[in-house]
């Protein structure tokens, strides 16, 4: 039973399209995240979200928006996809009581053609 699951695993799309990546966690955590691993292999946080607060990394374009229908889900919507958006996107969750470890999903490989 996967703790953090995200779909799809692979996403190939044309420039200019709008796409979504879904994420669900069954750990009962109250905070979820989206990370991006770019071509240089850095894992960088894009958003963190709990039911009270959305924290956005200031470098993230506003074409990217997280949407959380409930505490167990945090989806990522991307508008007007660009070539530079090609990367692996990881969803993660944690329980915010201090120095928590993150639990990651298996990633979504996004390729923009």
């Amino acid at each position: 039973d996967t703790a953090v699951s995200q779909t799809p695993k692979y996403l190939v799309t044309q420039m200019g399209n709008d796409k979504s990546i879904k994420c669900e966690q069954n750990l009962g955590h109250d905070t979820m995240y989206w990370y991006k691993q770019d071509s240089k292999k850095f894992l960088k946080i894009m958003f963190s979200y709990n039911n009270k607060e959305l924290i956005i990394n200031e470098t993230v374009p506003n074409r990217f928006s997280p949407k959380s229908p409930d505490k167990a889900h945090l989806n990522l919507h991307i508008n007007s996809l660009e070539l530079g958006d090609s990367a692996v996107y990881f969803c993660a969750s944690s329980q915010r009581t201090g120095y928590e470890k993150l639990f990651f999903g298996s990633g979504t490989q996004l390729s923009v053609l």
Binding site: T31, G98, L102, F103
Partner: protein
């Protein structure tokens, strides 16, 4: 601005020997460090962590050492096993806690040779 640096993109070690993965950081505000392990086509998984008030933390075959004055930490795996072949990410966390501030290095690909 790389606040966490893993200068070895890859490391090859014989099975049974010790693997030492290094990590340097520049942010003096980091007071907690974590190591994650990642297999291909999977997400990173937490491996071990250390608080800045300690200089060593051990968990089975895995030991993390922290040298605050040198802003350097290392992960020791002994003995190395084939299943340890993976990419290892070092991450630093600023004071105040919470995973928002996790800053990752680029990772080191560890290859255990039979």
């Amino acid at each position: 601005d790389q606040q966490v640096k893993q200068n070895s993109p890859s490391l090859s070690v014989q099975e049974g020997r010790i693997s030492i993965l290094n990590c340097d950081y520049t942010n003096s505000m980091f007071d907690y460090f974590l190591w994650y392990k990642k297999y291909p086509a999977e997400g990173p998984t937490f491996l071990i962590s250390i608080s800045s008030i300690k200089d060593k933390n051990e968990d089975g075959r895995f030991t993390v050492f922290l040298n605050k004055s040198a802003k350097h930490l290392s992960l020791h795996i002994v003995p190395s096993q084939p299943g340890d072949s993976a990419v290892y990410f070092c991450a630093g966390l600023g004071s105040g806690g919470g995973a928002d501030g996790l800053t990752f290095g680029k990772g080191t690909h560890l290859i255990i040779q039979p």
